[in-house]
Homo-oligomer: 201 residues x 2
DNA sequence: TGTACATCAGTGAACGCGCGTTCACTGATGTAC
DNA sequence: TGTACATCAGTGAACGCGCGTTCACTGATGTAC
């Protein structure tokens, strides 16, 4: 009985591990292709398996995409939490610079997030998942603003600041005739303008 | 000779008019469907013509989409310019509220704009058109900030404020379990938080 | 230890679909004489 | 005024493609006796 359970557990873990291999591959493809052009076949090729195999691990394409997105969201929250925990006095300029840099370097996370934000055909369940992720991000910014000793309610500040940083990432990503680095510099400059505004009491 | 020219002119104008019929139809379809799901066949159906006919007026799908986008951008700039011209002392809260409301009501313009901002496969020419439109928007915000007697350089403020408003529109559009009106209210509230920050010197 | 059977991951081929685009044709209108 | 011809907007049918998904099969591994 004990053995049987262990064997079953092992099997479950193996299944999970194979799912992860596919999700890893998906993430790599998303890093390289626009979200809407990524196909099941692309991901299978990246994972080195037949595209039919994917259906042993995910019921359909949407489920796989959502899995990849959730992982991405976890990464973002994780990074932000680490950043803010280490910021003693709540240095909003440093935090926003690091956050932006992280999302520029991991563009696929940002593209996945905005894709889901903009998609008008999301199921209620998926919208809830998206918002759960957003709430976790807001929670982190709440902590930051509390460290800054804001007297006004922090939640609206978090909403506003998170939205503003998203806007910077979207608005300047296709700046023409500029190197990736010049674009990054410009984003950081504009983010600093915004962060400064949020400094003042 | 004179007659011939007039006839030719007439023909050109008629051709332009028919192009406009198609672009109108496209705009209506974009108002109702996510950008990436709009097909040539959809637009033809909306315009009441055969889908093959579209190719008499546009060389390919991308050209038609770009035409629709340019029209949308013109509308946005037009609206913003009117708004700011009528704002005597540069009331940033009113302007941002009106701008947001306009883009919420005309969601297709906003979706088209963000679609092109996010698309990684744009031709250099198209990126330039997108940026030309953005520059016109920045110009308008420049005027607003000058009316507000800002002593700092206005251009970075315009960049920051425009980006922040975009961010608000993207971040809260899929707020779950809320009516369209509640979402609008929330966007306006967060935009006001941001506008207030931009008030202070 | 050997044999018959069950399970199930993995697969190549196929299905059905919608898409952008092209083609060959029609028919209305204008032009030349 | 009548006739032969040119132009060209409009079209239904077709092409070729890539997609998500399903199917029928293989072959490796574990199980029962």
């Amino acid at each position: 009985m004990k053995d049987k359970n262990t064997f079953a557990d092992l099997k479950t873990r193996e299944k999970k591990a194979r799912q992860d291999v596919i999700t890893d591959a998906a993430e790599r493809v998303f890093a390289v292709k626009p979200f809407s052009k990524v196909s099941i076949r692309d991901i299978a090729r990246e994972a080195g398996i037949s595209h039919a195999s994917i259906y042993r691990y995910f019921p359909d394409q949407q489920s796989l995409f959502v899995e990849a997105f959730i992982r991405g969201a976890r990464e973002i929250v994780q990074f932000l939490a680490d950043m803010i925990r280490n910021s003693e006095k709540g240095d909003i300029e440093k935090v926003s610079e690091a956050y932006l840099t992280y999302l520029i370097m991991n563009d696929q996370y940002f593209r996945m997030m905005t894709h889901f934000m903009l998609d008008g055909t999301l199921s209620a369940e998926l919208i809830e998942k998206l918002n759960a992720a957003e709430r976790q991000i807001f929670d982190q910014f709440d902590i930051l603003f509390r460290k800054m000793k804001k007297r006004e309610p922090v939640r609206p500040l978090s909403h506003a600041f998170f939205a503003a940083l998203n806007g910077v990432l979207i608005t300047f990503r296709n700046y023409p005739g500029r190197s990736k680095d010049a674009v990054r510099q410009h984003m950081l400059k504009i983010a600093k303008v915004i962060a400064t505004k949020f400094l003042a009491e």
